[in-house]
């Protein structure tokens, strides 16, 4: 027979079918057991009545013999006293015997006799009955009053009595044999009947047992086996599903036992570290964790509770490559909470790291390009600035030569101009140092700096430009400023961008009011504020919010990057840069830096801060041919 689950119609739950079958089978077993009880109970009851019947029937033989003996005894005793005793004995035996006989034939509650029920027994009794009756009659005769009176009235006619009695006793004895023989047959019949009952009962029991066993077998085939198959299939299905899930993960997954040996790893993890799964099984974590990361790996793997925060772990590929990962550890424990090991999900962030690094480099390069651009705008002025000391040196040298050639020389007269030559040469060197310092590509140079020095340096670099544009630059430097922890070049770049912005804004201002003020001061939070304020054309009110966005420029020729770079630098330093419009129409930029700076800033310009997601870059606008001019 087909033992599989019937092909389930859509949405049919096989478990429910099995459940139904199970209940059916259970009901069947219960019915069988009830049937068994109903059938067996009366049979058992009957069986219990068999024993007394056989017993009583057997005893009847003994009683018949006892009756004979009592009758004989009565015959032999002549004294009135014992005679009466014997007579009573005969009487009680007779009563007992007749009661049992009636009981056997018609049933007797007291003797637990059911009465006669089989035809064979009935026939046997019919056969025995005449002998029985004869014996009863004879016994009754013996016990009759005649004999009793004779005995009691003092031996009169005693000689006749025994002879009469003897005839009666003889009659009893004569019937006893026949009775015994017939009774033997009846007992045999009873025993045969009882054996038959037993045999029937046995067969019935066996049949019911067989039926129960058969039902159980049915349960095994119809319920248990399909259920096991169902569970097995479900398990396999679920296992396959989880395996697919684990294998299709884009992250690596590795499971360790409590001894930090690999138990399982998914394909992705195998690819990440370059080993096959069978090579990894049982291997220690050390084979794929980069040397410097082992302790950290061990530490978080030893944690037993909860999911710890993701940790960056560097793995080492079989070929020696390093793989940067972000690991999510998850301790595993058995149901009693005993740690069993742990599971790690590792996300490969190597590419992300590379992109971040690349972005950082690009930001550095962009900042550098911006500095070069700034320097390009200052180049003419700087050439002049360098020409000043060079010209002075040339003049002094020529003067010295003339002095020498006129012969009217004294060593002392040359001392002064030579010293001046030296001073001018150093001054030229200083300018070149500033230019080089500003334009070099030197990332990650965070150090303590005096902000006034940075401002002064920048002012020097811009001074010629300011002079040629007729701009009066005022420096108002506070004396008691704390040192700040900054990347000096980057901060100077901020100043350069702000100063050049101001220069551009002052271009259309009347010559006599072209003024730029740079003021440094201490902030309440013990930081430093640098204010760069101009008397130029300012910017439109609605531009303030966009001012620091990349590619936003109010000038036709502006790239729109200067202020964006300035902001990214200041914010990377944990500072704030703000812009406002002056009452006289010019613009004021404030740049606040804390004294200790951001503790973790390493001079790496964050690539993303310039392209702040909160200020989406208008790429469509950036693609336009003409520079952006919102309000030029």
């Amino acid at each position: 027979m087909s033992l599989s689950i019937p092909p389930a119609e859509p949405h049919a739950n096989p478990a429910r079918t099995l459940d139904r079958r199970y209940w059916c089978a259970l009901g069947l077993i219960a019915a069988l057991m009830v049937f068994h009880q109903l059938l067996l109970q009366p049979a058992l009851v009957r069986l219990t009545s068999d024993a007394p019947v056989i017993n009583v029937a057997g005893r009847q033989r003994m009683l018949s013999q006892k009756l004979s003996k009592a009758a004989l005894a009565l015959l032999t005793v002549t004294e009135p006293q014992p005679h009466e005793l014997r007579r009573r004995e005969l009487e009680s035996v007779l009563r007992e015997w007749t009661q049992a006989h009636r009981g056997l034939r018609e049933g007797d509650e007291g003797l637990r006799l059911p009465g006669i029920n089989s035809a064979a027994v009935k026939a046997a009794f019919a056969e025995v009955d005449p002998y029985y009756q004869a014996m009863v009659d004879a016994a009754n005769e013996l016990l009759s009053d005649d004999y009793a009176t004779m005995v009691l009235e003092g031996h009169r006619g005693l000689s006749e009595i025994p002879s009469a009695k003897a005839a009666v006793v003889q009659k009893i004895l004569a019937n006893e044999n026949a009775f015994l023989t017939r009774m033997h047959a009846i007992v045999a019949l009873y025993e045969a009947e009882s054996r038959q009952h037993m045999a029937q009962l046995k067969i019935l029991g066996l049949l019911i047992m067989a039926a129960i066993l058969g039902t159980l077998l049915l349960v095994q085939f119809v319920v248990v086996r399909p259920a096991v198959q169902l569970v097995g299939r479900e398990f396999e299905h679920s296992e396959a599903q989880y395996r697919r899930l684990v294998e299709s993960m884009s992250d690596g997954l590795v499971v360790h036992d409590a001894q930090e040996r690999v138990q399982f790893a998914n394909q992705r993890f195998c690819e990440m570290v370059g080993y096959q799964l069978h090579e990894l099984r049982g291997a220690p974590a050390a084979i794929f964790v980069a040397d410097g990361n082992r302790r950290r790996y061990d530490e978080f793997c030893r944690q037993t509770e909860g999911t710890t925060a993701p940790v960056e772990i560097t793995l080492r590929h079989r070929d020696g490559r390093f793989i940067e990962t972000l690991a999510f550890p998850q301790p595993l424990s058995d149901p009693e909470g005993k740690p069993q090991g742990f599971m790690l999900i590792l996300t490969d962030i190597t590419v992300r790291r590379q992109v971040e690094q690349r972005n950082r480099e690009l930001a550095e390069h962009l900042a550098h390009a911006d500095r070069l651009k700034s320097m390009g705008q200052l180049a003419a002025g700087l050439a002049h600035e360098i020409n000043q000391p060079l010209g002075a040196i040339s003049n002094y040298a020529e003067g010295c030569l003339t002095t020498l050639s006129t012969g009217a020389r004294s060593d002392q007269s040359l001392r002064e101009p030579l010293q001046r030559i030296l001073k001018a040469a150093l001054r030229g060197g200083e300018i070149i140092r500033r230019v080089r310092g500003f334009t070099q590509f030197k990332p990650h140079a965070v150090d303590l700096a005096q902000i006034n020095d940075l401002v002064t340096d920048m002012d020097h670099l811009c001074s010629t430009e300011a002079r040629s544009k007729g701009i009066e630059v005022r420096l108002e430097l506070a004396a008691d400023l704390p040192q700040v922890r900054v990347d000096a070049i980057q901060i100077q770049q901020v100043f350069a961008n702000l100063i050049q912005n101001a220069f551009a804004a002052l271009e259309n201002t009347e010559a006599y009011r072209r003024r730029l003020t740079i003021r440094t001061s201490r902030t309440h939070e013990d930081g430093v504020e640098v204010m760069i304020s101009d008397s130029g054309c300012g910017f439109p009110a609605d531009a303030i919010e966009k001012l620091f966005e990349p590619f936003y420029s109010t000038r036709q020729e502006g790239t729109g990057l200067g202020l964006a770079i300035a902001r990214s630098i200041v914010e990377a330093h944990g500072g704030v840069i703000t812009a406002e419009t002056n009452s006289d129409g010019g613009a004021t930029f404030r740049c606040r830096l804390s004294a200790d700076g951001p503790p973790d800033y390493d001079g790496n310009l964050p690539a993303e801060s310039m392209w702040n997601p909160s200020t989406p870059v208008n790429t469509a606008a950036a693609d336009r041919d003409a520079p952006i001019s919102v309000n030029s």
Partner: protein
Amino acid sequence: MTTTTPVVYIVDDDADMRDSLVYLMQSVGLVTEAYASPHDFFQAYRRSGPACLVCDVRMPEVSGLELYERLVAEGAALPVIFMTAYADVPMAIRAMKSGAIEFVEKPFHAQTLLERVQLALSEDRRRWDEKLRFDDLELRMGLLTDKEQEALSLIMDGSPNKAIAARFDITERAVEMRRASIMKKLQVHSLAELIRLVTEFRLLSENRTRRRPTAGG
């Protein structure tokens, strides 16, 4: 000819450059006066002889060209040598229009500057002499009365005494006397000398008018 010592004025806001120029000029025996700004220069400047100005074009507040224009406006004409780091076209045009005479481009050879200065000084000395001569002649000419002026122009036209006498309706004797008076006032002793002097005066004044319409003393 004058014996006044020529002065080289130096205006430069850059101390190194200024001081080195002073030293350079002094090493060849020139007298210098140095100023850090056009403002300072104007405060101190009094023309008392041949001079020249060595000036940086780019300076805060007042640029070198503005300084020169102001000099010209005030009639204090002075040869100027501009020092410039980059002689851009608009500036050169302005400079030419205002009559600036020289440019030296930084970095310059000191000898070049000295030559230019010497040249400028000799030119200015010539002009200074010319100016002194003109002033002298003008002074003398100013002594002449209107009639004498008129007579002088007739004399210069080569008119004989008779014609002059007829013109003024005076006697020839009177013409003689007027001529004597003119010659005395103009401090000449012969007709030839007179004609040379007047011609020189006319030429000088023509020059001045042509070169600097607004020029004064």
